[in-house]
Amino acid sequence: MSIAHHPGDELLLGYAAGAVSEGVALLVATHLALCPLCRAVVAGAEAAGGSLLAEVAPVALERDAYRSLLARLDGPPSAEVARSALIAGEVPAPLQAYVGGDFGRLNWRHITSGLAYFPLPTRGKTRARLIRVAPGAAVATHSHRGEEWTLVLTGSYSDVTGNYRAGDVQSTTPEIRHMPVADAGPVCINLAVTDAPLVFEGFLPKLVGKFFGF
């Protein structure tokens, strides 16, 4: 798989710093599982975090802090090895923790015959959903009140800005207005994260968007 659209430095830096919301972190982490290049960028940004930690003004702990910690050291070392027992094929581990199975078994909510979604339980200021678009089906034309980030997991889609395949991330800002259409081939499943509701055009899409809380 060769990835053409990466999250970009701002998002990777925000992820490394721990400044992005859980939904965005989920999208970035899932992309990282598929993209060694961006993993290297994050490792570099985390090294900047390590340097800043070395320079931050230290604040002394309570006088007996070390002694009270000593008393807690004797528990067993943590066994954080078998974390990935859950993994099932196509779903990368960071996302697996939220969907708990493969995409076929999810309880998808249908909007139209070609379009379904599944909300993910992320906290914080963004909302994250899986969006499933059948080949040839479209997400109605919409613009954005805030930012929207989309990571393609399976299949591919196209809009006015280009073509997005598995592993690609599209970041849209409020001024972008688009109608993503799934390409022919396998069903297109995306992880979509928004920080504000979408703005659908036309009476019916508006109504449907409101009804489903988009």
Partner: protein, 186 residues
Amino acid sequence: MTETVDPARLNALVVAVAQARDKAAFQALFDHFAPRVKGYLMRLGAGNSVAEDLAQEAMLAVWRKAGLFDPGKASASTWIFTIARNLRIDAIRRERRPEPDPSDPSLLPEVERSADETMDWAKAEDRMRAALAGLPREQSQLIELSFLAEMPHSLIAAELGLPLGTVKSRIRLAMARLRLALGDGP
């Protein structure tokens, strides 16, 4: 306060904790890092007692997870930064922290590096520090605000009275310089 500590020595201390459960090494790590972790958390707005507790939790995690530390992947300072960052997200923001799992079968592996290409992160940390110090103020400020103010870039832009596009392009410039510093070879 920049008392310089050799990053290679800090790495060796974590390895000693991992391999020998060495309490003297752990105390040296505690003395060095616990006040910095507490300072980092307070810089991000935690109160004294919350920062105190989390700094202790972070050091407990250092003791327990020392076996997971890989000097080929990060310096001790970077590794402990990520521990503190994740604890803070969990305890203060009450959010989960999704991360790629190195043992995930669907993880796309990196291209193998040859042994002489392997990064020496202790040296890389010195270079990173130098690179950060050498950034123009308008760029280093953005990196610091990302790490130490937890501000999304749109908010940083508003705060500094800059267009978001300017913030983004300065971040890209800064990241390119830092990448260059790391890419310089071991």
